[in-house]
């Protein structure tokens, strides 16, 4: 049998370990950590590149804060912000009424405005902008329109020689804010789609033989590039990749009946239409906005934040960072947003966001 000859008896070792852990805890606890405060951001892969531009610039002028960023998906962003694993959950989609009812302390704070393009790979036709509408896209994605030269597409594009070839619709396999706003465009413009499929970050895609699922926006670009006669919806921050893959970009029909490409002007016009309708909790869809110049698929990119933070230091750090992010002299400066093709929040919306940010305590 072992005698207690060991120089470090078990309880002493354990006690030491507990002390060490406690010391580490104190060091990382916000009250004592006046030097560096660690903020975790996780969620939307569409916002992720923007956070990666913001964080180095912000932390250079605010050395007391360290911000860790992760692109995990909007659903994860929302749920980790609720559970407290992350302080900032990035999401392309706002929370549902039921989620808000269950978690009244969680804020949905718009940080910027994003848009989405519909892209296709039709050999020989990728240099021209085809005209497409919500009902035609709904027909393609539910299998009613099978061929590129189907009457519904030909009618929108007189004079274009469309090929008699099966269309491969590509959708996102993973949960995605892009699926959310794309299916909203279909739902809001096509009653049939709205009642049979609806919208969400993943939806029950109707069975279209050969229809393809792809992983993330990079996967969408790759699948479309290597699948002739395919069509895909892709977040606007991937426009560079879309151009490099030589995909075609569609003119989309807006509520007023005009066909438009996304640009500073058309995305801004759509946002302007809904500025006054945006409620104080800022949960609103910007998809299929009225107005002649409004591009139909745009959305607020949200920071999902718990207004009830555990420590005052963390609350202050979050308020400072988020206020900087929505400021046109800070994170909403064109130098940042231009790189991911987002546009800045209209003044009234950034004021609303600031009002929500002030609630963090």
């Amino acid at each position: 049998m072992l005698k207690k000859t060991s120089r470090y008896p078990l309880h002493a070792v354990l006690g030491g370990a507990v002390l060490a852990l406690a010391a580490a805890g104190i060091l990382s606890s916000p009250s004592a950590a006046a030097r560096t405060l660690s903020v975790t951001e996780t969620g939307s892969t569409l916002l992720y590149p923007l956070f990666n531009l913001w964080v180095p610039a912000y932390t250079r002028s605010h050395p007391g804060v360290r911000i860790n960023t992760q692109g995990t998906g909007s659903g994860t962003g929302i749920s980790e912000a609720i559970s407290g694993v992350a302080q900032i959950g990035a999401s392309d989609a706002y929370m549902s009424n039921m989620q808000v009812k269950q978690n009244p302390a969680i804020l949905n704070i718009p940080l910027a405005i994003s848009a989405q393009t519909v892209n296709y790979n039709i050999p020989g036709l990728n240099r021209i902008h085809l005209k497409l509408s919500g009902p035609v896209l709904a027909g393609i994605y539910d299998g009613h329109i099978r061929y590129w030269n189907g009457p519904a597409i030909t009618r929108l594009n007189p004079g274009v020689r469309l090929p008699h070839h099966l269309i491969t619709p590509i959708h996102r396999t993973d949960g995605s804010g892009d699926t959310f706003i794309f299916s909203q465009y279909l739902s809001f413009s096509t009653p049939y789609w709205n009642s049979h499929v609806g919208y969400g970050t993943t939806i029950s895609w109707p069975a279209v033989p050969g229809g393809l699922g792809a992983l993330g926006n990079p996967g969408m670009v790759q699948a479309a590039a290597q699948t002739p006669y395919s069509i895909a919806y892709i977040g606007v921050s991937f426009t560079k990749e879309v151009d490099r893959a030589h995909l075609g970009t569609a003119l989309l029909k807006n509520r007023a009946g005009r066909f438009l490409l996304p640009s500073q002007k058309t995305v801004g016009a759509a946002a302007a239409q809904l500025v006054n309708k945006t409620p104080v909790d800022e949960r609103i869809s910007l998809v299929f906005a009225p107005g002649a110049e409004s591009y139909p698929i745009i959305n607020y990119e949200y920071a999902i934040v718990n207004s009830d933070q555990r420590s005052a230091a963390m609350a202050t750090a979050l308020r400072q960072f988020l206020s900087w992010a929505v400021d046109t002299r800070g994170g909403n400066a064109r130098s940042f947003l231009r790189q991911v093709r987002f546009i800045a929040l209209p003044a009234r919306i950034s004021a609303l966001s600031r009002k929500q940010i002030a609630k963090i305590h």
């Binding site: 549902s96 969400g200 050969g210």
Partner: protein, 331 residues
Amino acid sequence: MGPRPFFESLMKIRPFRIALVVVTSLIPLALLAILIFLARYSWPALTFNGWHFLAGHTWSLGNLYADPIKQRGVLAPIGADYGILVFIVGTLLTSAFALAIAIPISLGVAVFLAEGLRSRLRTPLSFVVELLAAVPSVVYGLWGYAVLTPLVAHTIGPGLRATLGFLPFFSGPIGSGYGLLAASIVLALMVVPIIAATVRDALAQVPSETKEAAYALGATHFEVVRRAMLPTVRGNIIGACILGLGRALGETMAVLMVSGGALNYFPGNIYSPVTTMASFIVSQLDSAMQDPTGMAVRSLAEIALILFIISVITNIIARLLTGTSRNASPV
């Protein structure tokens, strides 16, 4: 018999005995704990879905932005419909095709490593094969996504259709390269090192008396391998295939990256997109977490439960197969 008395005297010491019992029972207990957790966690989904879960081929999270309503006694989103037959079929098909590709290749590799090589090369080459088994699956996935899918679309697919196109499952449109064939090839690549390494080890253990007896009867080298060595390790081969099957059934990331994520329809041919149960859980979890009633996540847990049961059943079948083959084997 040298170590035996020492071991027996050790077993007489009570604490050691108890410790052994505890450690040994940990594994079945962990298995049981997982099963109980999955069953308990997915219980609301089990009652909500019923048998429709296994028979249905539509998966819909329902309208997560409308207020959920009480259906069949529980709160669930409007339009929620969880049927996983498509994913069960996808899982079984990808695994079956993967094994069909992997088994002949791995047996060839194992025999070559055990018998066809000079002993100087045997160790480094065996090491390489074992190393392949240690490559993280996402690496295979990335390779499959970047290299294999275009290859399937432009070379392997058309070639297969030209040669085996008379079979109904091998004809028809080839599509984009993402799908059942690409997923099966990636899985096969991941499974080959597992089967090959296990079988090679078994072949190396075949007693030299067995081999020499066969040589004495005038058998050629090939006949020794085929008639004397392979039958001896039959049980090991089946066991190795089951290990491989287990890996194929549960593989997640690599399959997700090349399978094309089919939803709500069955594959029409071997080039069609598919979805497997494991990869579906991963791809849906993010959206499922937005279901305020929790029914979506619990239904994903139910998929995990079914996958668990399928793995256990295939394992039991394999055990039975190995048992009978050992009894029937002349050696």
